[in-house]
């Protein structure tokens, strides 16, 4: 197999995985980093690990959980190393698909601490159970439930405070 065909094969593989998982990875990564460019870097690093480590997955659920775990770890490491203020410009929000109408709620969501956003995302959007989130994030099931409970209360209080229905 030549280099060119290997490159094409890798590109097709990545494009397929990107189509399938990019939204999910962006949500998880952005929840932690709150910055489009950093989130993109984290996703790129995750896919590089996906290609170079080439782990064997039992099924697509295993593959998805592996990607979430890696993007969470990569994003956390990036967060530890950087000290950047996060300002969400209209242009940035548009480029990640958030329109002007949703901007207020999105800004509010981004004010929640990252640890709560990640569990909310995995539970309500990705549909994981508390037991599965505990394995992915590396905290106990009780902690996952507590975070969910607290996040729901925070969300409700904040939305009520700014008068959002």
């Amino acid at each position: 197999m030549g280099i060119r065909s290997e490159y094409d094969g890798n590109l097709r593989h990545i494009e397929y995985a990107m189509e399938k998982y990019s939204r999910m990875l962006l949500r998880v990564s952005y929840s932690i980093l709150s910055n489009e460019h950093d989130a993109e870097d984290a996703i790129q690093e995750t896919f590089i690990r996906y290609m170079t480590k080439a782990p064997l997955f039992r099924d697509s659920d295993h593959e998805k959980a592996w990607l979430i775990k890696v993007v969470t770890n990569v994003s956390r490491n990036m967060l530890r190393l950087r000290n950047r203020q996060n300002l969400h410009s209209t242009q940035e929000l548009q480029s990640i698909g958030i329109d002007e109408e949703s901007r207020g709620i999105f800004e509010l969501i981004m004010q929640l601490p990252p640890k709560y956003r990640v569990v909310l995302d995995l539970y309500y959007i990705e549909g994981y159970k508390a037991r599965e989130i505990s394995a992915i994030v590396g905290i106990s099931q009780v902690a996952v439930r507590k975070r969910l409970q607290y996040a729901r209360t925070l969300l409700k209080n904040e939305m009520e405070r700014i008068g959002l229905e």
Partner: protein, 57 residues
């Protein structure tokens, strides 16, 4: 009661997506890096090819 707030949250977060440009950039970078990584690790042998001479040469 809290459900409507969660629905609002889910609705907004589901709108998020990477731009096509960003997707393409990441795909190309990853494909290039992973191909080079495999070459570097000796999985593929790079064979030199001789350049064909043209009449100009």
């Amino acid at each position: 009661m809290k459900r409507k707030y969660i629905n609002t949250y889910v609705g907004v977060m589901k709108e998020m997506s990477l731009s096509e440009e960003a997707k393409q950039r990441i795909c190309k970078n990853c494909a290039r890096y992973s191909t080079l990584h495999k070459i570097k690790n000796g999985r593929y042998v790079v064979t030199a090819s001789t350049k064909e001479k043209t009449t100009d040469n």
